[in-house]
Amino acid sequence: MLKINDLKVNYGGIEAVKGISFEVPEKSIVTLIGANGAGKSTTLRAIAGLVRTSGGSVEFMGEDITGKDTTEIVSRGITLVPEGRRIFPDLTVLENLKIGAYLRKDSLESDLEWVYDLFPRLKERHWQAGGTLSGGEQQMLAVGRALMSRPKVLMMDEPSLGLAPIIVRGIFDIIREINRQGVTVLLIEQNANMALQTADMGYVLETGRITMTGTGAQLLADEKVKAAYLGT
């Protein structure tokens, strides 16, 4: 569904991503794991059109979308839940959800119901300003907001960042649930353990290069991965 070929990105004068290739098959969950500065975020931002690529290509459903602007990419069905959630603090919860569907002209009712079913807490708080929610609720809102665009591919940048373990488990349950309902997921995480348990396929990213590939279970069992990312 999403195919990355030899992607290169220069970021602030350094080559943050040095020619990586990977694939995200339809209806799968794929994860990129790696340390801080490995180029994970930059990869997602390049796919979303937020940063310019300096080489390689991004293919989505058979079409080249390299260098297209973000609006175009979002309208084709790729969306990104940014690192640190980045909800709009002054907009109400409902407005945050509606703005996720900014490009859509059809009725939002059924999708609002869908998001409220996934996150009943958001329905209770729909009139509150987004900034008044707790960290976990803001993450739910960020995911709900992204889902409102009816994405084919949902990209998530560190959804577990700064959240309590119990909340993190909840978030990953939701990721699985969203995926079961047909949304393809590309996830990057420092919490490699949770990510690999959830993912069908995993890639290990080190200083801008992919150094290991395997199914989630294979990588979880790999000694090097264990030592470097799982702390066991």
Binding site: V74, P82, I99, Y102
Partner: protein, 303 residues
């Protein structure tokens, strides 16, 4: 008493005219964090356009129709001017440091002033006496121009319409989102540049309306005629808490009224000449006690 009423009415009216300019400053700041120094000059150019369009159109149609068409044309062309300024002078600097954009704004300001000097030869031009707006009516023994009475009403209507637009429409929601976070707004599919253009269009349209009311009152226009009202409106926007539309409007009314009262104090006291200095002294005092202005946000910087 009659004198007091006339002072108050004129203060409210001047305040309303400042408000129409101040909204442009505050909205642009809210979205771009840019103090658009050219805004006062756009206001001046709108005034000059009023003069030239009216004189051209009077030669081809009846005077009444000419004035009406010219006013509409002034609003349309001012909007176009604001739009072009943003696209040419600010948009290419979107990722440049804020100071560069500010210098670009100062450049545009002088470009407009110099062009105005070139076209008018630097001579003061006289604004046309617009029928009805220029006519007077007797209120409590004072002869007051309709423009003076109409200004606050018009300001209130326009501000209410604007707040509805910002709070209730999709484009308004996008404006509030873009003001907070460019990048996340892009991820929602919002076209940042279109939203910024809309902001400039609204600001320029209001400045055009402001110019019609203001220059109907003070009929002479020189190339620097936008500088003082522009500066006062900017002060009003800071006073109200820059970025906040209601703040700018309230700030503008307070400044307009205070300024007119000082100008109207008995001439034996000899203080009227200090009215402008007073405006800025007021700003300093307010900012000492409330650095973010009356309605300012606590965290003004972008994340």
């Amino acid at each position: 008493m009659e004198y007091a009423i006339s002072i108050l009415l004129s203060g409210i009216s001047v305040g309303g005219q400042y408000a129409l300019i101040a909204i442009g400053y505050t909205m642009v700041y809210g979205i771009l964090r840019l103090i658009n120094f050219a805004h006062g000059d756009v206001f001046m150019v709108a005034g000059l356009m009023g003069i030239y369009f009216t004189s051209w159109l009077t030669s081809v149609m009846s005077p009444g129709a000419a004035v009406l068409c010219s006013l509409l044309l002034v609003i349309v062309m001012t909007v176009l001017l604001g739009f072009i300024i943003e696209r040419v002078a600010y948009k290419p600097l979107r990722s440049a440091p804020r100071m560069s954009v500010m210098i670009s704004a100062i450049g545009v300001s002088y470009l407009l002033q110099n062009t105005a000097t070139y076209i008018t030869g630097g001579q003061p031009m006289t604004y046309p006496s617009i029928p009805f707006l220029f006519d007077t009516v007797t209120v409590a023994g004072n002869n007051i121009k309709w423009a003076v009475l109409l200004t606050p009403v018009l300001v209130i209507i326009l501000v209410l319409a604007l707040t509805q637009l910002i709070n209730r429409t999709k484009v308004g929601m996008a404006m509030r989102a873009v003001a907070k976070d460019f990048e996340t707004s892009r991820l929602m599919g919002i076209k940042i540049n279109s939203v910024i253009s809309v902001t400039f269009v609204i600001g320029s349209a209001l400045a055009a309306v402001g110019s019609i009311l203001y220059f109907t009152n003070y009929q002479s226009i020189v190339p620097t005629a936008g500088a003082m009202p522009g500066l006062k409106a900017f002060v009003a926007a800071v006073f109200g808490g820059i970025g906040s539309v209601p703040g700018a409007v309230i700030g503008a009314f307070i400044i307009g009224i205070c300024e007119t009262i000082i100008k109207g104090l008995p001439s034996a006291w000899d203080v009227s000449v200090f009215s402008d200095a007073f405006t800025f002294a007021l700003l300093i005092v307010i900012l000492v006690f409330k650095p973010t202005g009356l309605f300012g946000e606590k965290a003004t910087d972008k994340v």
